[in-house]
């Protein structure tokens, strides 16, 4: 577990630097067990920072999402660094963003937090419904310890753990300026068993499965908005000229939207699972992204978000690439 005082101390130190504009971390949410992002601009604000298994957000998305307001004439843009707290999965987003030249390594200060897993908030709320007062979650001795309404409940880890954590390969951040805890060794892998099971089903079954899921989509674009890799100024998915998919909410346009977004993330999705977490229609978006991830790994031996120097997957090729599907 991260020592909260050490975390706040380091945060205070970092935000006091002249060359750091802002620090993005976590603070308790507004109700229940939730946590939310914190945007700290001075050392006096660090007391609200936390890090618990409730800190599910991928803060890396704010680095690229930040709106750069037009600079008034005569003024200089504020190009100071941004500090950000990242778990293992989040750090891969930073690596991938830097691989795509979104910013230079010297423009972020990375506070890495080796992660022992976060909760699936839907499961927590199903287990303990109707909790409105702020509660806390901690991980102690292999169990999640939830404190709320004066009670303390212990739940075995695997019952509340987020699915993505059960197959996490990078619990320790891959890039950091400082590590806020001891390194955590990899403890799982993705065997893609659910993807493979779906692959084996008949064409009718597969389309039936996805048609049902895509029909629920309300085109809120939350998945696209929360994704750290989606930061184009004018996203093709909702562009009018040219129109790739219409904004109408029907099975045709919804399917096109999801195919297009998944393809745009091929070789780029770093598996943080935020899209699936925020989807109000509970569409299993990670089953789409992991299909590409699996193919990209098997066919081209490529893993996004692991090497800043790597060339982007679809901007490279090998003379030996498979072509047994080509006439």
């Amino acid at each position: 577990m991260v020592d909260i005082n050490k975390l706040r101390e380091i945060a205070a130190e970092v935000i006091s630097r002249d060359d750091v504009r802002e620090l993005i971390g976590y603070r308790p949410g507004t109700y229940g067990f939730r946590a939310r992002p914190a945007f700290v601009t001075g050392p006096e604000e660090v007391d609200r920072l936390i890090f618990t298994p409730a800190c599910v957000n991928n803060l890396a998305t704010y680095i690229t999402l930040e709106e750069k307001l037009p600079v008034p004439r005569g003024q200089e843009p504020d190009t100071r660094k941004v500090a950000v707290m990242v778990k293992g999965c989040d750090s891969r987003a930073l690596v991938q963003q830097m691989e795509e030249k979104a910013y230079g390594r010297d423009q972020v200060v990375v506070l890495g937090i080796p992660c022992t897993g976060v909760v699936d908030m839907a499961r927590v709320e199903a287990r303990f419904p109707g909790v409105l007062e702020l509660g806390e979650i901690a991980l102690e001795g292999g169990k999640f310890v939830l404190s709320f309404d004066g009670k303390v409940e212990e739940v075995p880890k695997d019952e509340l753990l987020a699915d993505k954590c059960a197959r996490c390969r990078y619990p320790t951040p891959l890039v950091y300026d400082q590590l806020l805890d001891d390194e955590v060794a990899r403890f799982a892998d993705d065997d893609y068993s659910d993807i493979e099971a779906l692959e084996k089903r008949s064409m009718e079954d597969k389309w039936g499965y996805w048609e049902e899921k895509f029909s629920r989509c309300i085109r809120c674009y939350s998945c696209r908005n929360v994704c750290p890799m989606c930061y184009c100024e004018d996203c093709v998915l909702d562009r009018i000229n040219p129109t790739w998919m219409r904004r109408s909410v029907d099975i045709s346009e919804n399917t096109a939207f999801h195919i297009a977004r998944a393809y745009h993330l091929a070789g780029r999705c770093i598996q943080c699972g935020e899209c699936q977490r925020v989807c109000p229609a509970k569409i299993p978006l990670m089953e789409l992204n992991r299909k590409f991830y699996k193919d990209v790994g098997e066919l081209y031996d490529y893993e996004p978000g692991t090497n800043v120097e790597a060339a982007p997957l679809l901007a490279t090729f090998s003379v030996e690439d498979r072509e047994d599907f080509i006439l």
Partner: protein
């Protein structure tokens, strides 16, 4: 599927051909008066590397029953590398569409050089028959609006 609609079904296939190899090869089939089924309609691009895999998705969504991308043989691309990128992109897209329930017979790729008029005929025949077997594409067809 053994109903009448399938045997009367004429596939509508959209093809993207690269100017220097496949389009020239298709022209050669024409000059040589080699006959083949009329189901494939061609869009000319300069290089198979220009073809965005989302065109495949778009074509299927607009009503095409199948899509074919054809370019130069590896190593012979007029622009050196375009076909290598195309190969990677379409391998991934084809696998993904199959995962969603779109039959792989609908997403085809071929290497046809400027001297392969006879091969072009074979490609057309194979792709047309493949799409004919799996029937019309109606899985996420766009509602066309005619104002």
């Amino acid at each position: 599927m053994g109903d009448n609609t399938k045997t009367d079904f004429e596939p509508n296939i959209v093809a993207f051909l690269c100017n220097w190899c496949s389009y020239a090869g298709a022209d050669l089939a024409g000059t040589s008066r080699i006959h083949y089924p009329p189901n494939v309609r061609v869009i000319r691009v300069m290089c198979s590397g220009r073809v965005n895999p989302l065109f495949v998705m778009n074509a299927l969504q607009q009503g095409a029953d199948g899509v074919l991308i054809s370019g130069c043989h590896p190593g012979d691309c007029h622009y050196m590398q375009g076909n290598y990128y195309a190969r990677r992109r379409f391998n991934l897209m084809r696998n993904f569409l199959e995962y969603l329930g779109v039959e792989p017979e609908r997403v085809r790729m071929s290497w046809v050089s400027a001297s392969e008029g006879a091969k072009w005929k074979e490609v057309i025949e194979e792709v047309t028959e493949g799409v004919r077997t799996v029937g019309p594409m109606d899985k996420f067809k766009r509602r066309q609006l005619n104002w």
